[in-house]
């Protein structure tokens, strides 16, 4: 039906277009625009549908979802799934751990990386070259899983909250991005405050740090997303201490049984026990998925204008 309409009204519009733009030939612009619009609608549906469906399932009664046919509107609306999720100490605790590690990682990362970037942007600094080289080289190699595991063990970071924060406090890439950005700040600002008697730390904290806001906004988002979404460190380093588990790792445990075809109904044990009549593993999973993704999805659209800045500054000088 849609296609027929397109073809019928095509030539008329195309004539109008071709009059306005002498270069364009015939029906092509209209056909192209139609195709392009349809394609974009398709893209938006394919991107959004699975996520919207998860949200709907999370608000639908679990025992009703099993009957199938839930697409974009809940059949039996309920908050039970969320009640069950937050009533369970496990998930609630994991949520708090995730929030704590994300906030701590982001603050430390931003502060330390910018501070180091400031020192490396000072041309007169004697250790500028060697420190820069040592950091840049870390982008090219990685000791690997086993040596890193032994390092964490030797540092007593196994089953320790700090293992979420310490290993990734400074990334060389972000360091270069911020250093390049600081390079665009007029030198006269630093010079004049030095004449006023300010030391390097004061210049960094009072002058440079506030001026870096646009680039720090992007990097803070990337660091926060990385910290919030990571699960492998919880799996590798803290899996024997339940109270240190993160939200993503709990979600992974809920999901891992469903990927294997023979799904096991006891996956949500402990989570939905007291609501067993309505809540199922599928509905719990959907609710946890929503809880685990909504915080970041609320933030990123507002940062969009900075993405290109962050990516481009990074590519100026690696």
């Amino acid at each position: 039906m849609m296609m027929k309409n397109t073809q019928m009204s095509g030539p008329k519009n195309a004539v109008m277009l071709s009059r306005r733009r002498p270069g364009s030939s015939g029906v092509e612009p209209f056909l192209f625009n139609t195709f392009n619009t349809l394609f974009m609608i398709f893209l938006v549906i394919v991107t959004l549908y699975p996520f919207l469906n998860t949200i709907v399932v999370s608000f639908n009664a679990g025992n009703d979802t099993i009957r199938g046919g839930i697409y974009l509107w809940p059949r039996q609306f309920t908050m039970q799934n969320y009640n069950a999720v937050f009533a369970s100490g496990t998930i609630y605790n994991a949520f708090l751990i995730s929030v704590a590690r994300t906030v701590l990682s982001t603050l430390l990362n931003i502060f330390l990386t910018t501070m180091l970037a400031y020192t490396l942007s000072r041309r007169e600094y004697v250790f500028r070259k060697p420190i820069t080289t040592i950091f840049v080289l870390t982008m090219y190699f990685n000791a690997g899983l086993i040596p890193n595991y032994f390092l964490m063990k030797d540092l007593h970071l196994i089953n320790n909250f700090l293992v979420y924060v310490l290993p990734s406090m400074i990334s060389a890439f972000n360091l270069i991005v911020i250093r390049t950005y600081i390079g665009t700040i007029p030198e006269s600002l630093v010079e004049s405050s030095r004449i006023d008697g300010a030391g390097d730390f004061k210049i960094f904290w009072r002058i440079i740090f506030p001026l870096c806001k646009p680039v720090l906004a992007t990097i803070a988002l990337f660091v926060a997303v990385g910290a919030w979404n990571s699960w492998f460190d919880a799996f590798l380093y803290t899996s024997s201490r339940q109270e240190l588990s993160t939200l993503q790792y709990e979600l992974m445990k809920l999901l891992s049984s469903s990927v294997n075809a023979n799904s096991n109904p006891s996956v949500a044990n402990g989570v939905g026990a007291e609501h067993a009549t309505q809540v199922t593993p599928i509905s719990i999973r959907a609710a946890v998925t929503v809880v685990a993704s909504v915080p970041i999805l609320m933030v990123y659209p507002f940062m969009q204008k900075y993405f290109v800045v962050g990516l481009n500054v990074g590519s100026v000088k690696e």
């Binding site: 270069g23 938006v44 699975p50 180091l116 600094y125 899983l145 030391g199």
Partner: protein, 321 residues
């Protein structure tokens, strides 16, 4: 364009002669800079350089209970074992195959999408579609593989649609058959990253001189001709640089997707080098063999990265001439 072309250039090949000698006066003068940076230098040495010492494990029959001097040194035994081991060779094949599939699918889809987005003239719609297309990039692989598994389940939306369109009579078990696994991983990557990957191309397209399009208009070029003869050549340098740089990551097929989507039925197709290392190292305690696998991956990656850097530099200089 020049900005992107320099991606791969090393920091500064020409060493500027620093005439300043290291004296106590300078150290005293710059003590604040030193307080602000040297502790972080110590930090990165501990967390990035110190663990490289662990590579010695690959040349020993490492036993955790013994001290370093008591370990038995075995030379390249573990490496020889790796390259004659069917398991490792299969894992290597899977890694390379998925990496190449991801590379080709990732590049073509992102470039096509960027070209199409670039043709949307209404800023509001362009922005909206872009914002939506970034969404999956911010979801964790845990969530994405959960969505993929749900969509591909026997009663999932994909089988549902295919059945309703009468393309198939029986649900396809996408995740239980090895032959689909590489494709599923490739498609998952595209779903997650295609929107995000367009950013750099759209930025490159925005910097194309509008006069080129006007000239093409006057010459009577239609939209496809302009895409082919103006837009694509305009982002060619970006494509080439990104392509060269991704060669350095040829053994980075990813770990999370394969680990999370893989299961006993598709293990011959899903395991990558990282999973091999995890399985032998952490799960079975064969630290030496796992470390050897890790070293192999690191060495190949470093070699490829240096090669990529060298190529990019040469191409960059040629373009400047």
């Amino acid at each position: 364009m020049e900005e992107i072309a320099t991606v791969a250039k090393p920091v500064n090949p020409k060493k500027q002669r620093n005439n300043k000698r290291l004296t106590w006066a300078i150290i005293k003068d710059q003590r604040q800079l030193i307080y602000m940076s040297v502790p972080l230098l110590a930090y990165i040495i501990v967390f990035a350089y110190l663990p490289v010492w662990g590579w010695t494990m690959a040349f020993q029959d490492y036993k955790p209970a013994r001290s370093f001097s008591q370990q038995d040194w075995v030379g390249f035994k573990h490496f020889q074992f790796l390259f004659t081991d069917d398991n490792f060779l299969r894992v290597l094949r899977n890694t390379l195959a998925m990496s190449v599939i991801n590379l080709i699918l990732g590049f073509t889809t992102a470039i096509v999408l960027a070209l199409l987005l670039n043709e949307i003239k209404k800023m509001f719609w362009k922005r909206t579609v872009q914002t939506i297309s970034y969404l999956p990039h911010f979801l964790s692989w845990i969530i994405v593989t959960g969505i993929v598994a749900t969509s591909l389940a026997s009663d999932g939306i994909i089988n549902d649609l295919l059945m309703k369109l009468h393309l198939i009579d029986q649900p396809i078990m996408w995740l239980s058959e090895g032959k689909y696994f590489w494709g599923v991983v490739g498609a998952s990557h595209v779903w997650k990253e295609v929107g995000w990957n367009t950013i750099i191309y759209l930025a490159a397209m925005a910097s194309i001189d509008p006069a080129l399009y006007e000239a093409a208009d006057i010459d009577g070029a239609n939209r496809y001709q302009k895409m082919w003869n103006v837009t694509l050549p305009g982002i060619k340098a970006t494509i080439v640089i990104l392509l060269i740089m991704s060669i350095g990551h040829i053994l980075e097929a990813g770990f999370e997707v394969q680990y999370l989507l893989g299961n006993g039925l598709v293990v011959d197709w899903s395991e990558t080098i990282d999973i091999f290392v995890l399985k032998y190292g952490i799960a079975q305690g064969n630290y030496s063999l796992a470390t050897a696998g890790g070293i192999f991956k690191s060495v190949v990656s470093i070699t490829m990265l240096l090669f990529a850097n060298w190529t990019a530099k040469r191409l960059g200089e040629e373009r400047l001439l």
